[in-house]
Symmetry: C2
Subunit: 338 residues, 2 copies
């Protein structure tokens, strides 16, 4: 009595279930996948056996024989920085809702060996598809090396041909934000850039476009790193120049660093200098003064990206592009010049 069916100590397999239920292996498979009809009686026997053995089908075996997988890979240069983390969260939420699992592959640099390692790790897997965060040079490099034999979607800020893509129209938002500052009466707007993914960076492009359209002078671009503190010396330098009355920063963290530098130099935001950022970081609203910035729906970007992937898995003529225009969050860090 009570002897366990199946090999002791091992996970039960589908044939253990079949044996216990008194049916054939394919019938168990039919119950599992729901692909074909099974009589109610047998179905119940099978389900009882599954429950009794606490059976879980082996994903590896399924993938091997069916050549189909419920796993997608996300390739990203980073997983924890705000925009990256939120985008991955959006992908995961959309994927989970459709019963897919997410595998993360980080590409630290655009270094050839590193990119190859990441691409090979992905190509070994049998995957339903791949999403690449084309936010930075490693992401761009990985995308270029990736084979196109499986569904593939890129996520980024600038449109490019080739791979299906979901984007946030950063250039349009940056242009709108810069135009807003000019409209406030500023003669021009200075720009602090975060490390760009390529020669063209949507935020910088939009900024420049707004200045050109307004016939405003285009000051030299200042470069920050991803590190918020890198904005501090830039802010001090900017504060020392009386010509500077408005600054557009490539992201909110840098804007916060720049504001700190301006404060250290004894000048005030927004009374002396207006500062705006990009991304609508969770702390932007809490900052003093609350930061005027661009609401980037990264989680939405991730969700749109997965939707695009899903479409291209099921439909030959799937959409190849999804764009969304971010909105500006008007807060207190920008004001007319005195």
């Amino acid at each position: 009595m009570g002897r366990t069916v199946g090999r002791e100590g091992k996970n039960p397999t589908i044939s253990d279930v079949a044996e216990l239920a008194g049916v054939s292996v394919p019938t168990v498979s039919r119950v599992l996948t729901g692909a074909a009809k099974v009589s109610a009686a047998k179905r119940e026997q099978v389900e009882a056996a599954i429950a009794e053995l606490n059976f879980r089908p082996s994903a590896a075996a399924r993938v091997l024989v069916s050549r189909k997988s419920r796993t997608i890979a996300v390739i990203a240069g980073n997983t924890s920085r705000y925009g990256y983390a939120e985008t991955i969260r959006g992908i995961e939420i959309a994927a989970r809702a459709e019963g897919y699992t997410v595998m993360i592959t980080v590409v630290e640099s655009a270094d050839e060996d590193e990119v190859n390692r990441a691409v090979e790790a992905v190509e070994m897997q049998t995957l339903a598809g791949v999403v690449v965060l084309k936010f930075d040079p490693p992401g761009v490099a990985a995308l270029n090396r990736l084979g196109t034999d499986r569904p593939l979607v890129a996520l980024s800020g600038t449109r490019e041909a080739g791979v299906p893509q979901a984007v946030l129209d950063e250039a349009a938002a940056a242009e709108e934000l810069t135009a807003y500052l000019l409209g406030l009466g500023h003669r021009t707007v200075h720009h602090v850039r975060v490390p760009p993914s390529r020669r063209v960076d949507g935020r910088t492009t939009g900024w420049k476009r707004a200045l050109r359209k307004a016939d405003a002078p285009v000051p030299p671009v200042l470069d920050a790193t991803w590190e918020p503190l890198s904005g501090v010396p830039i802010g001090r330098a900017l504060a020392a120049d009386p010509e500077v009355t408005a600054v557009f920063c490539g992201n909110d963290e840098i804007a916060m660093g720049v504001m700190r530098g301006i404060a250290e130099a004894g000048r005030r935001v927004p009374e002396d200098i207006s500062v705006v950022g990009f991304d609508d970081h969770p702390l932007a609203e809490l900052w003093s003064p609350p930061l005027t910035t661009v609401e980037q729906d990264f989680a939405g970007l991730g969700q749109r990206g997965f939707a695009l992937l899903l479409e291209s898995m099921n439909d030959e003529n799937a959409r190849r592009y999804s764009s969304e225009r971010p909105r500006i969050a008007f807060r207190a860090s920008a004001a007319p010049p005195r």
Copy 2:
């Protein structure tokens, strides 16, 4: 001439490689895994064939037959919030360094169906191991439901028996931080808590311990959500009470919200009220005033967690516990009472 070896349009398999190289399939396998010796001549032929066909072994087939996998699963209640994102980053870095891939499974709530879904998704996979972020109730619930048949490690702030575990000793750090405030001359320290994972929360425990040891009164605990803005009304309420001179917040984001509330109420930090946080958020140093907080090495926690997992995969008598004491970052948001 030029006819491709292998089935057209399909990925090449190991037998295509064997055929092209003029060796048997197992020999190719030996070259791939490096498990057994192969003569230099054959090895070269095989490597040439692999390169020519751009062959990648199928991970699914390998896993099926060898019952070994180079993938680990991470179960987490969240992926994008600071502590979570950094911990996952640490796990991924350590895993990647050892050639492992990370699969993410999010458990949104401690709801039974949701926990079961996540656990089943994990148990279907053939995995080298599982890391659970026991930071919140969903994490705790998932850990409890998870079978113990494969290597498993929990990451959290409070020690418990059972599963091997890496922790940050939050209770000790909280006690030290609270004692520091008392040492500054504050009569007592108020506490704003973030949603706890269980009845016992290390941060709250350490705070209470320090107060008891100093015979200081223990004020009622105030509850915030994970949302930084939830700290604002709490800060206003605290500022209205003249008894309040020092506040210990469950994390930095809440501390920032509380400080904003205090400012809105017209009182100053640290002159009127000292505020300290927990985690050393990237923006804590940039805040005005710079926030005194606890440096939590989440990435290090993740790395230690993976190390524990690796040990328990290879060694029966592996360590079952790794603890680290976070350090306090003394900055300007805490000062003696006036």
